[in-house]
């Protein structure tokens, strides 16, 4: 097994810790937005303007943090100290930055899309929708910036709570069931697994701050480490590792912007982000490698990858199919992290961003189709390419990104992941990636193919072009373009990702 | 329930008996309880408070705070019984009573037949007969009342030197009132000593007690630290101030105990409507 360079640790010691209130502002930008949102609630235009303003403000704050982070600095801000020596604290490093950038830029697009989706469908309680949307973004950034396990946990729970009203937005029996499943999974795992694991870590090591190389090394026995790792991997159920993925398809009852947000930006990504954080910051790659624990996680993740792809194949509801696709893709990321090689971890990190753009495009498309034609099922969408050509082209781009075909960003991250396998000395793990990529193709491409080259009962040769409203169309086009751009300009993503791997 | 009761009682009993083996002998003058605090009280009580009755001194001075609260316990009980039993609007409680009693009786009839019911009526009639005012009783009470009240006042006033004090005196006063209420009817007594007046007296009693304490506060000492009151009483030293204040305090206790126990009786015996006593 190849010895990883110790360079990373050295850099970590050199990194400058800088106190800055910027992370706080970035979180507050959306946390305080509900106040004007509620005040402007009666005037939809005003309300949406507030959302946009908050979105741009947030993005601006995040961007402002970019230069120092790229210089290798860590921005730190302590909120309060509930437990002596254990503050709720923000620490912004490369990894946080990458995630925060993705989340805050996609929030703006999602907001725009939400306008195009919610208004034509005349959804009720739109103000509440925007309010909780803003809250969940704050929680997401909080997770991204979390400097220790406690902070991570606090914002993780806040995210669960603030997305619940979004998931159950329709307030009907279906939403109720989905919402119940959503909370049951997320609360049971976080309270039942993460909390005790976290406390155990704290009691064993007396520390919780994420550090390069982790803080558990040498403090716990191998058995304890294994149990803890499993508790974390399963405990962050937002990552959808089987068998704790059940909430995700259930949560599909939500309005599409929410699904997009859940799947591409906030919730699931927070899950994998947490696992990445724990693997790198709590255990440390070296420690895991020493104990040879990566393999266990690899198998769990690999199993999820294959299984979910197979399930996705059998789904007729477009959103459900995409949901299972997401479950698979998330486990890609975890699989990458479990390889414990720099290359693969970098790839995992990048895949968060790449997949975000790809998957959000797909969801936007699904929503756009629903807005324009009220169709939910794939079997009803045969020939839809004639009616909505732009949407379906974007869908194609999204699919390619998810599969990892050029010229989309997905290719680059997937390549890293793929190469990470031999890098860690377990080349046969590549099999998982290869098989699942094929499966991805099998469940995504036929949709596009049939949309353009076949005629169905709803859309025949004579169908006229009638796209979804502009507010729907523009965001999805933008995200599709984003996916392509990421293929040509992946530098920023990788710079941040390598900062994480080396510095963190 | 019986077995649970028996078991828990046996459990406590056995525990307590185990502990008794460890006790100092009964009446041992040198047991810890008899040789630590009590020695101080016995030796210094007269010097410090000028009250020969140690119980009164400890009650009204050393542990005066306890006593104040104890007085308010009586007050709480009075108010509590009033709050529970008393029907202000006269509908809610009385209405349900009648309805439920009727229901209860009809059930009883079905079960036990008519005979029982007739006997009940006879008993009730006999009771009604017995409840009529009786000349002999009334005259006796008339004769007794002044003595009872005088004795009660003596008990309160002489609590420093002999057994007695505010509590005992207050209870005797209340007993006197209750005696009157029983022989002359509750309405008649309430006409003399109305409910409102006794409530006010009850308040007044505790307020006298607490007021003495607050006065000490205002004069710059701790709560209920009577010695500063020497500044108020004419021609007394600090020790006598304690003695005098104890008397004041005992009078307060007497007020409250008397009026509250009387009220409790009034409410309990008339079922909360204060109309007809026993």
């Amino acid at each position: 097994m190849r010895q990883r360079p110790r360079k990373g640790v050295l850099i970590a010691m050199d990194t400058l810790v800088m106190t800055s209130q910027l992370p706080l502002y970035a979180v507050l930008a959306s946390a305080l937005a509900p106040i004007p949102l509620i005040l402007a609630g009666r005037n939809p235009n005003m309300r949406e303007a507030v959302t946009f303003a908050a979105g741009f403000l947030k993005l601006w704050f995040v961007m402002k943090m970019l230069p120092p982070v790229l210089e290798g600095k860590v921005l730190e801000y302590t909120l309060f100290e509930p437990v002596a020596g254990l503050p709720v604290q923000f620490r912004v490093d490369g990894m946080s930055m990458l995630f925060a950038l993705v989340a805050s830029s996609l929030w703006i697009l999602t907001s725009a899309y939400a306008i195009g989706y919610m208004r034509p469908l005349k959804e009720h309680a739109q103000t509440r929708f925007y309010v909780f949307f803003a809250f969940s973004l704050s929680a997401t950034l909080g997770v991204a910036f979390a400097g220790n396990l406690l902070t991570l946990y606090v914002f993780y729970e806040l995210l669960s709570m603030s997305t619940y009203p979004l998931v159950t937005h329709h307030q009907d029996a279906e939403a109720r069931g989905g919402g119940r499943r959503y909370l049951t999974y997320l609360l049971a795992t976080s309270v039942g697994l993460v909390l005790p694991a976290m406390l155990f870590c704290y009691l064993k090591s007396g520390d919780m701050t994420f550090a390069a190389g982790g803080f558990l090394a040498g403090k716990v026995t191998p058995t304890e480490a294994l149990v803890l790792l499993l508790m974390f991997v399963f405990g962050f159920a937002k990552a959808g590792v089987m068998p704790f993925h059940g909430w995700l398809p259930g949560a599909m009852v939500a309005p599409t912007p929410v699904s997009a947000l859940l799947h591409a930006v906030a919730v699931v990504k927070v899950g994998v982000f947490c696992i990445l954080r724990v693997v790198t910051g709590v255990f440390g790659l070296d420690f895991l490698e020493q104990l040879d624990l990566g393999l266990v996680v690899s198998f769990i993740a690999g199993f999820t990858v294959i299984c979910s792809s197979l399930i996705a194949l059998s789904q007729d509801n477009l959103k459900r199919r995409l949901a299972f696709s997401t479950v698979g893709q998330l486990s890609y990321i975890i699989l990458g992290a479990s390889l414990l090689s720099d290359l693969a971890v970098k790839g995992s990190m990048a895949h968060i961003a790449m997949h975000a753009f790809g998957k959000i495009t797909l969801f936007f498309c699904a929503g756009a189709i629903y807005v324009a034609t009220k169709k939910k099922y794939i079997s009803d969408m045969v020939g839809i390419g004639r009616r909505m050509p732009i949407t379906m082209v974007c869908f194609l781009i999204g699919s390619m990104s998810v599969m990892g075909l050029p010229p989309t960003g997905g290719l680059i991250s997937k390549l890293h992941l793929l190469l990470g396998a031999p890098d860690s000395g377990r080349w046969w793990l590549m099999l998982f990636y290869v098989v699942s990529t094929l499966l991805n193709g099998a469940y995504l491409l036929p949709i596009v193919f049939r949309a353009f080259f076949k005629t169905g009962k709803h859309f025949d040769a004579g169908t006229e072009v009638q796209e979804a409203p502009m507010f729907c169309l523009v965001p999805l086009t933008l995200t599709a373009i984003g996916s392509i751009l990421l293929f040509f300009f992946p530098h920023l993503v990788f710079e941040l990702a390598s900062l994480m791997v080396e510095g963190s | 329930m019986k077995t649970i009761g028996l078991l828990s009682v046996l459990f406590t009993g056995i525990l307590l008996m185990i502990a008794v083996v460890d006790f100092p002998d009964w009446g041992d003058p040198h047991s810890p309880a008899n040789s630590y605090l009590s020695t101080h009280y016995i030796e210094d009580v007269e010097e410090e408070t000028a009250v020969p009755n140690m119980v009164t001194a400890v009650l009204a001075d050393y542990r005066a705070f306890d006593t104040m609260l104890e007085t308010s316990v009586v007050f709480v009980a009075g108010i509590a019984i009033f709050a529970i039993l008393r029907s202000i609007d006269g509908t809610s409680l009385a209405g349900t009573t009648r309805r439920l009693q009727r229901r209860g009786r009809s059930k009883k009839e079905k079960r036990k037949g008519q005979g029982r019911n007739r006997r009940d009526e006879m008993v009730a009639a006999a009771e009604r007969e017995a409840a009529k005012p009786d000349l002999i009783v009334q005259t006796t009470v008339r004769l007794l009342m002044p003595t009872i009240q005088l004795f009660a006042l003596y008990v309160i006033a002489h609590g420093h030197h002999s057994p007695g004090g505010g509590f005992q005196g207050g209870v005797i006063l209340a007993a006197g009132l209750i005696l009157v209420a029983m022989s002359f009817g509750l309405e008649n007594t309430l006409a003399q000593v109305p409910e409102k007046l006794s409530l006010q007296l009850g308040n007044l009693g505790v307020l006298i007690f607490a007021g003495t304490g607050v006065l000490c506060l205002l004069l710059g000492a701790n709560f209920l630290d009577y010695h500063v009151l020497a500044a108020i009483y004419p021609a007394t030293d600090e020790i006598m101030a304690r003695s005098h204040s104890m008397l004041v305090v005992e009078i307060g206790v007497g007020f409250t105990v008397m009026s509250m126990l009387y009220l409790i009786y009034a409410n309990l015996s008339s079922h909360g409507d204060l109309k007809k006593g026993l």
Binding site: - | V55, T56, Q168, V171, I178, Y265, L268
Partner: protein, 81 residues
């Protein structure tokens, strides 16, 4: 403090308490409880606790009994056990 005297009262206390709980007529039970309280008061006086005995005589044997009687007259006289 005369322990023989003490012992006799104690025995009577136990007996009265048992009777008070056994009697089915509540009025009699209340009366017997009055006797119990009075015996208790005697016992305390004999132990030198005059103030307590005084209070118990007035409160326990006097007022408590009156309250009990009042309640019994307002509810029912019979008890099933």
């Amino acid at each position: 403090m005369i322990w023989q005297f003490d012992l006799i009262i104690l025995v009577f206390l136990v007996i009265t308490s048992l009777i008070a709980l056994r009697v089915r007529d509540l009025m009699s039970a209340a009366m017997i409880l009055g006797v119990y309280s009075f015996l208790m008061c005697l016992l305390w006086a004999e132990m030198g606790a005059v103030d307590v005995a005084f209070t118990e005589a007035a409160v326990g044997a006097g007022l408590s009994t009156v309250f009990l009687v009042a309640t019994i007259l307002r509810t029912t006289r019979r008890s099933s056990d």
